[in-house]
């Protein structure tokens, strides 16, 4: 597979998040955005005048705000600047990072600030997600992003006890990570000793998908600043984190055709397969030091680990059971606590990138991985099983290995 030659290298040099919560009545949308932008500028040691271009994204119908970037410009600092608004559903935050990468790499802009936001408490989220379905046919049947089919498939494949324990182990692991992350929205203090109780008693939503398995609905914003290699050479406040490559895989609208008698290749698998191949990564588990995955539910998360790491059979369950995905494991998953802990949808996928970059910098704080993080993977998820996958690097040293 052909690797494209990037016009110039792009680094993440600033990261700003707001607190993530279901209660942000003290800020309107533009003010919340501004909090993230201010934090990112402070992190990068830059002023808004240093930014050439803003990239903005969220879902209009979640807040019921048409062309929200116009109002949010009060908080993004877009006044007088170039600005793009790009949205792709749940993947928006990751797509914004791809876009910022492209904009800087193109040479058209030197320093770009991307911002993803959502104030889910200002709308009806599940209703908003349901509204993505075709209004003529499927909308009446959909329940937001909830489905129990993955749980059932895993139960069919691995047996009820093992599958349920795997999902709950993942869930409790995420909470343990979230407990270390001061910014995380939902932090329960779950213990592995509660596993049986939660498996039996957490209120069911759909089939074996229970309330405890599902992601939250949060208010929050994330902003990131990107600049060119030339600018990085002039000095940065924090160590730069390099964007090596990214891939986006979308698919058609119809969802039921994922639930017939057999399935096409899962988008996550395709994304991983292509991305790793063109970057010469043979063994992703060995190569990456952290994976920030967009995990909307514990069941999907466990299932998708197999897809993203191109694993076979029950390898992903064995790794989970062996603690390989724990914070101090072989390949830690979501030290931040993931989407299950915090989910301001338009910012969610960007938070994966932001958290992965913080791990590379060593600035993740309480949830910093102990061993050195040099290679990070991050994913976004949205639409009807759309996938975005991106590789971040600590050092600018991969070029020699992968170009044809």
């Amino acid at each position: 597979m052909k690797m494209h030659a990037k016009n110039r290298n792009v680094a993440i040099i600033g990261i700003g998040q707001t607190s993530l919560s279901s209660h942000k009545e003290d800020q309107n949308q533009a003010e919340m955005v501004h909090e993230a932008v201010r934090n990112a500028l402070a992190d990068a040691g830059l002023k808004i005048g240093d930014i050439d271009c803003i990239v903005h994204g969220n879902m209009e119908l979640f807040e019921m705000q048409f062309a929200p970037d116009l109002w949010h410009s009060l908080g993004t600092g877009a006044y007088g600047k170039d600005e793009y608004r790009i949205t792709t559903g749940g993947t928006t935050g990751a797509t914004l990072v791809c876009a910022a990468d492209n904009l800087v790499a193109s040479g058209l802009y030197n320093t770009v600030l991307a911002i993803g936001m959502e104030k889910l408490q200002e709308g009806n989220t599940t209703g908003g997600i349901t509204n993505m379905a075709d209004p003529l046919w499927f909308r009446n049947l959909q329940t937001g992003a909830l489905t129990g089919t993955t749980a059932q498939e895993m139960i069919d494949e691995f047996g009820e006890e093992r599958a349920k324990r795997a999902a709950m182990r993942y869930r409790i692991m995420m909470d343990k990570h979230a407990m270390l992350n001061q910014r995380a929205h939902r932090r329960f203090g779950l213990e592995y000793s509660q596993m049986e109780d939660l498996m039996a008693n957490s209120p069911p939503l759909v089939g074996e998908l229970r309330l405890i398995h599902m992601c939250s609905q949060s208010d929050g914003a994330c902003a990131m600043i990107f600049t060119s290699e030339e600018k990085v050479k002039q000095g940065t406040k924090n160590p730069p984190v390099w964007i090596r490559d990214h891939i986006q895989v979308h698919r058609e609208e119809t969802i039921p055709n994922l639930f017939g008698f057999n399935k096409p290749e899962v988008t996550h698998h395709l994304a991983a397969r292509k991305l790793f191949a063109r970057n010469g990564i043979q063994d992703p588990v060995a190569y990456f030091d952290v994976f920030e995955m967009y995990d909307p539910s514990a069941w999907w998360a466990v299932d998708w680990l197999r897809e993203f790491f191109l694993l076979k059979g029950d390898e992903h369950l064995r790794m989970l059971e062996a603690g390989d995905f724990d914070l101090d494991g072989r390949i830690p998953i979501n030290p931040s606590g993931g989407v299950i802990a915090s989910n301001p949808i338009g910012a969610t996928a960007m938070l994966r990138l932001a958290e992965a970059a913080l791990q590379i910098r060593g600035d993740a704080g309480g949830h910093q991985i102990k061993k050195e993080v040099r290679h990070a993977l991050a994913s976004g998820f949205g639409g009807t099983f759309w996938s975005v996958l991106m590789i971040l690097e600590k050092e600018l040293n991969w070029q020699e290995v992968n170009h044809d």
Partner: protein
């Protein structure tokens, strides 16, 4: 020492010397007796003479007082803090004054700075403190026509069992659990306190199983709006943050076009008309203008079904409310994925299963459509599917 509204009777007397304003009391010569009954109560005597103050606890009879105040400890604290109207307490005889009450009401604010409950860390507030403020935080205007009985079973320190009765625009708090209850909530007292002071999120506590709710869930969720927000004593009361509630709706008229339109024309005739990709042969349900895989326009329509096989199913226990009406359908309901007879193997259709059939639902079950009595060419024509048991299951 028992606390009311986050403080104790004793603290009110202990802070009296600090709050005393001697310059305002130069002309005053009076001894005031206080008798506070119930837990945390006692007797005190405050002697004010030409700019001096002496506060003493009294065992036995209160003697030598020009004026005495008799009340229960809770009312005493409530009135002192302004949480309970002194006039109301007097009128209801909860507070009685031997002597001239008017004189006291004028005098005391002049010679004492107002008492403020000691600032507490949020985690020092107990569930009992918070329950004690429920009645005063009640908002009758929000509870018009509401009749419900809410039970709290709060375990651990500062906990207990209470029943909150809301009826006829009034709210009463009683010790113990009544039977029957509209809804009963069981949790650790510290969890309840945490939720009330905002250090624990209610949804979080519920999701993680820290709160058990028995009875009417909707009632449990509604209770919050009947009460003003609890404010930790001594904390500056947060400025009220106004939020606007608006329902936005813009009417739409969706084209079906010649492809989806054909599907609906079929549905009206109780037929499933898929369209078949000329390249890969897949039968698209509902039909699309293009085959996404082959990127070719799809012209040919084929009738599939009407019966089919269940490949996957979802039993839905949580129904998402209609975004506009807020209406929530009955749960549990079953959504099934069905590959209709004659359809290609991936192209499932999603439909509801008849409720009575849920207990017998299995993957591989044969189903047949259930149509509306009158079909008009919309998704409403297909009510769902039911098990097709005459043929037996696979």
């Amino acid at each position: 020492m028992t606390e009311y509204f986050g403080t104790t009777v004793a603290d009110i007397f202990a802070t009296m010397p600090k709050r005393f304003k001697p310059e305002e009391a130069k002309e005053v010569d009076i001894a005031i007796g206080y008798e506070a009954t119930g837990e945390g109560g006692g007797k005190w005597k405050a002697t004010i003479k030409h700019g001096t103050l002496k506060v003493e606890t009294v065992e036995g009879e209160l003697t030598g007082c020009k004026t005495t105040i008799h009340t229960d400890a809770e009312t005493f604290v409530g009135v002192t803090l302004g949480k309970i109207s002194a006039l109301d307490a007097l009128s209801s005889q909860k507070l009685r004054v031997a002597g001239d009450p008017k004189f006291l009401m004028l005098l005391l604010p002049k010679i004492f700075t107002p008492y403020a409950a000691p600032a507490k860390k949020p985690d020092a507030v107990t569930a009992r403190d918070i329950i004690a403020t429920l009645a005063e935080r009640f908002r009758p205007e929000k509870a018009e026509g509401v009749a419900m009985t809410i039970g709290y079973d709060l375990a651990g320190e500062g906990g207990g069992k209470w029943t909150i009765v809301i009826r006829d625009g009034k709210c009463a708090v009683r010790e113990g659990l009544a039977d029957p209850l509209t809804v009963k909530m069981t949790m650790e007292a510290k969890t309840y306190a945490g939720m009330m002071v905002g250090t624990i999120e209610a949804v979080t506590a519920f999701t993680s199983g820290q709160v058990k709710i028995e009875g009417d869930m909707a009632a449990a969720a509604a209770t919050a709006k009947y009460f003003r927000k609890y404010v930790v004593p001594g904390a500056t009361e947060a400025e009220e943050l106004i939020s606007l509630r608006v329902t936005n709706s813009i009417e739409q008229r969706f084209a079906t076009g010649p492809v989806m339109g054909r599907w609906f024309a079929g549905i009206r005739e109780k037929k499933f008309l898929a369209n078949r990709c000329p390249k890969c042969g897949r039968t698209q349900i509902p039909p699309r203008e293009i085959c996404a895989w082959c990127r070719v326009r799809v012209h040919e329509f084929v009738e599939v079904g009407p019966k089919g096989v269940v490949t996957h199913f979802d039993i839905v226990y949580f129904a998402s409310p209609d975004p506009l009406t807020g209406a929530v359908r009955d749960t549990p309901y079953a959504t099934v994925y069905v590959v209709l007879d004659g359809a290609t193997e991936r192209e499932a259709i999603t439909v509801d299963l008849k409720k009575e059939d849920i207990p017998r639902l299995k993957e591989g079950a044969r189903v047949r459509p259930v149509w509306a009595a009158v079909t008009t060419g919309s998704y409403r024509d297909l009510i769902g599917v039911e098990l097709d048991e005459e043929e037996g299951s696979l």
